[in-house]
Each structure stands twice: as C-alpha cells, then as structure tokens.
C-alpha cells in the first residue's frame, strides 16, 4: 500500500511517460528474445523450416491458379478483374505471414493452457499474461512469405496501371495493420470461451472454416444480409478485401468508419472477455 501511495505521489506526467516507454522497451526486448530462441530451434531443423515455407506458399499459388482459371471463363467477378484478385491473394498472403510470424501459434495454444492449467506459469511472470502467451511462439520464418505476397500485390497493381503514392502505401499499410489487429482480437475472443467451457474444439473448427472462407472468397461477393454478417458480426469478410479496395479503387468513407468501428468494438470485446475469463480461471481445475 505504502509503495503504491509513494508511486502515486511522485508520478508526474513525465515520470508516467518514462515508465510507459520503459515498459514498451521491455516488451520489445522480450519479443527479440522470443525471436532468437525460435530462430535457434528452426536452424536445427532446416529442412522443416523450408518445407513450411513451401507448403504455405503452395496454398497461395494454388489460389492464384484457381482464380486465374475462373477468370479465363469470366471477365470480372462483381466488378473485380483478375489483377484485383491477384492483389487480394497477395494481401492475404502478407496478412497470413504477419500473423503466422507473430501471434498465431501462441494464441493457438491458449485453450490447451487453460484446460491443463499451464496458464499458471504465465500469470506468475512479471509481464502481461496475454502478451506472453500470444507472442512466445513467434515464428520469424513465416515472414519470408511476405516476399511473394508483396510481389503479387506489386504485380497486380502494376497491371492495373495504378500510380502508387506515399499516401496509398500509408493507407494500405494502415488498413493491413488494422486487419492484423482484428484477426488477433477474433482469435482471442473465440479462445476466451475456453475459460468457461474448457473444451472449445467446435468453436475452433468454425473459426477455421471462417478463416478459409475469407481466405478464398473476397468480400465483394457478399450482398444483403451476408454482407452484414461477414462485414460486421463475423468480420472475416473484411480481412483482405478492404485494403485491396483501398489500393485498387477509392474506399468510400463509410468503409473507413466500418473498419474503425469494427476494430474498436472487437478490441474492447477481446480485452473484456480475456479479463473476465482470467477472473473465472481456476487453475488446473478450470
């Protein structure tokens, strides 16, 4: 108590900012350590490292082949041509590599940690539990996949004859990061149910199908009630579609508001469900 009171008495705005900076630096250093450990592990099994890259890449190459074949038969799909589709697949490749490289494998293990009680080990550490659990399985190898992703986007944009400006790059990057954040929130929200239900395999299965869904079908195919479902309530339809719409055509103001609104709501929901779940967590007996 005394310590806390002293802390509050001496806590001016400058000191508060310094503490926040120190905290950020601590987390960045922690990320660096996670990355080093993972790279060491990957170097031991170099064949698997490359095989994982080839496997991931194959998914996107097959996706390009599939849509190229469809576009041989049709000129456009709801106003999108083959090059917009290539930008879409490239964008998803980048998004996929970003989340695979950072939080994907960590978040994936959350239900198991809750079920077996190993989450205890993370609660006791002097860092944010959610941060530690999410980023401890960082996989820098997956970042390699951004290279073909960027190449696909560059090729598609080039063929569309779009002039790339700094503003376009900044807007595209912002929207991509917003979708990266949204994906994180969605993954955490679904796994937070494990605090109450313990086994959430069926939820995870649905999530897998929804990710596949957004992966293979651009949001432009949704109309009416489907658009409402996949843009607002289960916003998987936004993922790669919105950055592509921004880059290849003007993104209407309402979509900017939608992105900001959805990210904010799901961000708060994610934090709320995680915190209430942690209160509910009863160690190995949960």
């Amino acid at each position: 108590m005394k310590k806390a009171a002293n802390k509050n008495l001496g806590a001016g705005p400058a000191e508060g900012a310094m503490r926040r900076t120190a905290r950020i630096v601590k987390y960045i250093r922690l990320l660096y350590v996670f990355m080093k450990v993972k790279l060491n592990k990957n170097m031991m099994y170099s064949f698997n490292f490359w095989m994982a890259f080839i496997t991931d890449l194959s998914i996107f190459v097959l996706q390009v082949a599939m849509f190229s074949a469809i576009f041989l038969n049709v000129g456009t799909i709801n106003g999108w041509n083959v090059y917009q589709m290539i930008v879409f697949i490239g964008t998803f490749t980048i998004l996929d590599s970003l989340y695979m490289a950072t939080y994907f494998f960590g978040v994936l293990s959350i239900p198991e940690k809750i079920r077996t009680g190993t989450l205890d080990q993370y609660i006791l550490r002097p860092v944010g539990t959610l941060f530690y659990v999410s980023f401890e399985n960082i996989d820098p190898g997956s970042l390699l996949l951004t290279v073909p992703g960027i190449m696909m986007v560059a090729y598609g944009v080039g063929m569309l004859g779009i002039r790339i400006t700094l503003g376009a790059i900044a807007g595209y990057t912002f929207l991509l990061l917003a979708m990266y954040f949204l994906m994180y929130c969605l993954m955490i929200i679904i796994r937070s149910f494990a605090f109450r239900l313990v086994k959430v395999d069926s939820f995870l299965e649905i999530e897998g199908e929804l990710v596949n869904f957004s992966f293979r079908v651009p949001g432009i195919v949704f109309r009416g009630v489907w658009k409402l479902i996949f843009y607002v309530f289960l916003p998987y339809g936004l993922m790669a579609t919105i950055p592509v719409q921004f880059l290849t055509a003007a993104l209407e103001g309402k979509y900017w508001l939608l992105v900001l609104g959805v990210c904010t709501v799901f961000g708060f929901l994610c934090v709320f469900l995680w915190r209430s779940g942690m209160k509910h967590y009863g160690s190995a007996s949960s």
Binding site: N48, I54, A65, N78, S202, E205, E209, V221
Partner: protein, 264 residues
C-alpha cells in the same frame, strides 16, 4: 480375414467414441457449400454457363464433391503411421500376425463406411436446402459407374497415403510433404473448383493423373456431365491401383529393415 474384420470393428467403435467430431464435420461441410454458393452466385450473375456448367449443375457438383471428399479418411492414418514409425511404435504391427498394409486398408475402409453413414444424411439435408440448384443425374448407369470409379479412386488414395506413410522409414519426418500433398490433391482432384474451368490442355493433363478420378470424374458424372469414356476411367484407375500396390510392397520390403524399434 477375420482379424482384419475385427480391426475394422474396433476402428468403428473408436469412431463412435468421437462421434461428435464426425457429426460436427458433417454439419460444417455446409461452409464449403455455402462458400461455393455465395461465390458462384455472383459469378453467374450475367452468365448462363462457366466451364460448361450452369449454376444448378455447379452447385450439384459442389454438394457431391464435398460429400465424396470427406469419405476418404486415410490421411489421418498416414499421420498416425508416420508418428509411430518415428517414435518406434511401429513394431506393434511387425510383431503381430498381421500385415500393416491390410491393417491400414481395414481401418481406412471402416472409417469411410462410418463417415458415409453420417455424411449421407448431411448431404441429403444440404441437397434439400439447395433443392432449387440440386440437379443430380437420373440415369442409374451414371450412378453405378460413378460409384465404381469413386471406389477405385478411394482405394488408390488409401494406398497412396499408405505409401507416403512408409516413406517415413526412409525420410523420418514428412509432415511438410503431407500438408503439401493435401493442398495439391485438393486442387488437382477438383475439390476446390471443377477442373473443366481450366483450359482444355490443362484438364487433359489432369486427366492423366489418378486424382482426376477421385472426386472430379464421379462428381461430374453425378452432376450430369460425362467427362470421358467410362471404360477408360476404370482402366486408368485399375492401372494406378496396381502400380501403387506394387510400388508400396517393394518399398515396404526394402525399407522396413531400416526400422530399429526404438525410434529412428
């Protein structure tokens, strides 16, 4: 043969223990069909035909392809065999009076029969939901032929997965290869998109592969499209089945000696 029937029975019982997963899988097959419906509905907006399919036959194709694609359950056994070879547990098949290949076949078929029973109900339900777009061939001959080609195709897939699993004697870890294989086969078998949307030369090249006959050929036939001579399809699958059986037997004989029991 009785011992293999017993193995099939035990596999059936273990499937019953995890029946929730099987039911959930059958229900979630709607996602694939819904995805196809949403996508193709937009593609067909101003068109009558794409790749020789109209909207109804395209949806029929997806409903059937989704059903057929779930029936082959040997991929899971492939992973199981690989792990057992890697961890030294494969010895249990060697010391018992049974042949691993027949064990693999009996487990796979047992799982397929169970999944068939569950999925046929789900498929009938999806066919009812999409009844406006569901237009299956009324010709019994098409049904019989599709069943024959599909069974030969499924047998090939089981043997192919068995062959991949015994590659572990030589290469120890083939997890990446297995994932790559699943992605490629989903594509070249026509499970993702009907192969007729590709240029004719590419479709012709696909027809030289056995995977063409595992989903695409029977699903097309049931959707009312004939994608080549039935006799040629049966002959091709007999050839591929013979080849994979012989190659697997030779490979097993050569590399089982590398197995040391305590993990390799």
């Amino acid at each position: 043969m009785r011992k293999y029937a017993e193995i099939a029975g035990i596999t059936w019982k273990s499937m019953m223990a995890y029946r929730y997963d099987v039911f959930a899988g059958a229900i979630f097959s709607i996602c694939k069909i819904l995805l196809a419906w949403l996508m193709w509905r937009v593609i067909f907006l101003n068109r009558e035909q794409v790749g020789g399919y109209d909207f109804a036959s395209m949806m029929t194709y997806y409903i059937i392809a989704s059903f057929l694609g779930r029936l082959d359950q040997s991929n899971g056994l492939n992973w199981q065999f690989c792990n057992e070879i890697r961890n030294g547990q494969f010895g249990k098949y060697i010391v018992r009076p049974l042949r691993p290949v027949l064990y693999f076949l009996s487990c796979s078929y047992s799982k397929s029969v169970y999944v068939f029973g569950v999925n046929i109900i789900a498929t009938a339900a999806w066919a009812l939901i999409f009844f406006k777009q569901f237009r299956i061939s009324p010709d019994i001959a098409d049904w019989c032929l599709a069943a024959l080609v599909f069974l030969l195709g499924m047998n090939f897939m089981i043997m192919f997965n068995y062959f991949l699993s015994i590659l572990c004697f030589r290469f120890i870890n083939i997890d990446g290869l297995n994932i790559l294989k699943s992605n490629l086969i989903e594509f070249v078998s026509g499970a993702l998109v009907p192969l007729s949307v590709f240029p004719a030369a590419v479709t012709k090249a696909f027809s030289l592969l056995p995977f063409y006959y595992t989903v695409y050929y029977p699903a097309s036939l049931l959707a009312g499209r004939n994608e080549g001579s039935p006799l040629a399809a049966v002959a091709a699958m007999l050839f591929w089945n013979t080849l994979i059986i012989v190659v697997s037997a030779l490979y097993y004989k050569k590399y089982v000696r590398k197995f040391e029991g305590a993990g390799i």
